[in-house]
Every structure is written in C-alpha cells, then in structure tokens.
Point group: C2
Chain length 214, copies 2
C-alpha cells in the first residue's frame, strides 16, 4: 500500500479505555491515522462532520441511547459519508443483519488478530466488504441454510420475548393480534426445538439469533 495519503479513521466506542487502546494500537500503523473519537450519536456526527474520515470504526454497543446501528445509519445519511467498519464483540444474526442493513461495509469482531484489523481498515477505506470468518459463515448458513431459520418477524418476537413481554403486550407492540403472536411463538418453538418462552430466549441467545438485554 502506498501511503500517498493515509487512511483517516474515527473511532466510535463508549468505553474510553477501549478507545484509547484502539488509538494506541492502530494510530500510526502503516498508512492509518486516527483523526477523531466519539462515544455516542451526537459526538459521532460532530466529529465525522468536522474531520471527514475515510473510515469509521464502530462499536455496536454504545450503552444507553442510540446504538451503533442507528449511528451507522445516520453517518451513512450524511453527504459524502465515511465507510463504516463495525468492530464489536457479538456476532448475532440480528446485529449483523441490522448493521449491514444500516450501511456498514464491514463487520469484524474484537477477538480478531490485530493484523486482520489493520487490513480490514485499509480494505474498508477502499470500499471493500470485510467480514470476520464467523460472520461470513453465519451469513452463508443463513442464505444457503438447509435447516430451520427463524424469519425476521420471528426475530422481532424473540426480542420482545427476551424483554419479558406477555403475548398481549407483544401483540400491541407489533400491531397484530394475540393469535398472530401465538402463531409466531409456535413456529419459533418448533424451529428452536423448545417448548417454553424462557427456553426460546435461551436457545435464541445460544444460537446467536438475538443478544439479550443489557
């Protein structure tokens, strides 16, 4: 890689220690320059607007308030938007799908080796799609899946379920009837091989379909 112009990177993560660590790790790395940091939606928009980076390294878990998915969508809505590379801990289907849907061009996990991160940042700057192996595998298994795959609507139900709602409340939340919710639940039970709502939540977390609560 020629360093005719370095890749300008902004970090978005709500943990100061992680930000500082990432900055120490990638800043100055062959052809990479960290030009800003942010911890939430407001500061991210501000910093990106001010620094106009090539790449945004995005954590999905930003504590309270809008998460990394929302921030990604907002940044992609800006004129001349940066390429967003998600760097997070979890590889649940829901997270991956939403992040890519929001306009992220890459999805790496924090347990990736540093070299992969550096290469990923450079590739992201070029607009290439970068996926961690486990993420790619999950996507492949999703599209070319032989076995039972929960549908998008079912994922929504699973998430409400993990938040502790009853059928009546879920129905209200999803703007459908209780019967429909029960129908979704039945399909979910069958697909996950369980027979209780709590068991479904456990299985969904186990299979990385949803990520629970906190």
């Amino acid at each position: 890689m020629g360093d005719g112009s370095p890749v300008r990177v902004v970090l978005v993560d709500d943990h100061p220690v992680v930000r500082a660590g990432l900055r120490a790790l990638v800043d100055g790395q062959d052809g990479i320059e960290v030009v800003g940091e942010a911890s939430d939606l407001a500061s991210a928009e501000e910093v990106v607007d001010a620094t106009r980076p090539d790449v945004v390294l995005m954590d999905l878990n930003l504590g309270d308030g809008p998460g990394g998915v929302e921030v990604t969508a907002r940044l992609r809505g800006l004129p001349g938007p940066p390429n967003v590379l998600v760097l997070t801990t979890y590889d649940t289907e829901a997270d991956i799908l939403r992040a890519l849907d929001a306009g992220a061009v890459g999805y790496l996990l924090k347990d990736a080796p540093p070299d992969q991160l550096f290469a990923g940042i450079r590739a992201t700057a070029r607009g290439e799609t970068v996926l961690a192996p486990s993420v790619a595998a999950r996507l492949v298994r999703r599209t070319a899946a032989p076995g039972p795959v929960v549908t998008e609507r079912e994922v929504e139900v699973l998430e409400l379920l993990s938040r502790g709602l009853g059928n009546r409340e879920m129905a209200r939340e999803l703007l459908v009837s209780e019967a429909t919710v029960k129908s979704h639940l039945s399909h979910i039970y069958t697909k996950l091989g369980v027979d209780t709502r709590a068991g479904a939540v456990a299985a969904a977390i186990e299979r990385r379909i949803i990520r629970s609560g906190a």
Copy 2:
C-alpha cells in the same frame, strides 16, 4: 510514585485486540510494565508462574471455558500470588460479588478513564482495594440497603430462569420442590415489581442482578 521498581503487569483477556490495545495503553506508562498476556486459564497460570507479576489485569469474560472468576481463584491459590484487578464491562451484583469472593482486590470497568486505570494498577500493586464508583455504590446499596434486595437463593432462581427452565426443572436443579421454586418466584416478582418470569429476567438484567446468557 518513585519508580524504584516498576509495577509488573500481566493481562488476561480473550480478545487479542483488547490485549494489544491495553498493552499499548499501559505499557511504559509511568511506573508500569506489561510483562505478559494470557487468554485463558491454562495460559494465565503458565504466564503468571513464569513472570511472577505484581498485578494481573483480569477480564471476567473469557469466552468458552473457565471465566475470569475461576482464573482469579486459581491464581490466588498459587504461592506468592499476584494481586488481581478485575477490568471488565459488566457491573452486575453477581459478577462483583463472585470476583471479590474469588480474591480480586479491585474491580474497575472498561469505561473508566485511562488515568483511573493507571492509578488503579499502582494501587492494586500496593494491595489497596480499588473499586469503580458504580461498583462501590452497588456494594454500599447492597449492605446498607433499605429497599428490596434479592437473596442469594433468589439469584440462583433468576439465573436458571434466564436459562429458560420451567418450575419443574428448576426444582430438580435446586433439589427442592416445585412449591419452593414458586415461592421464590413470587418473592422475586414482588421485589422486582413484575408479574411474569420473562419480565423478571428482564428486570434482573436491567438492575444488573444477573447477566444474561451469551
């Protein structure tokens, strides 16, 4: 702080990126030297045995296998054990209590400012107890609590609950009758102000009484 002898630190975290980031952040910092890294129980014992550090920076989430609590307990069982400073993302009651119980002398969160981390490492080396403000607050509120506090047994029930077990299964797991489980559940509902098992799991996660699944 005089640097008559630097504080020798070993990092334990299953994420290479985080380890590298932490090393870049704290190594060389006034009076602090990183002398080793580990990602699991086996490598931690090996590295600590070989380097005999003053402080071990311990993540509680080590992916599969034994967690940071177990590793802490094992390290503390060694002759001339290092002082363990927990550095993690979560501050649930269950995590805090178990970590301190296992012999950790400090508990910081990854969202702490770097300066607090440096100071915490030095304090830990001197054997002083270092607690993040939110952790200290939680402990205080626990002992000097006026309001409803879930008991240890109730926490056990909540954890089984979050794993999706039914009353019958929980009873078998806890070696008690179903009636007892129902009794615990009723108390939990009252204390958490909910009325369903899924709601209890959500509230318990919300209040950081338990941490869910993954």
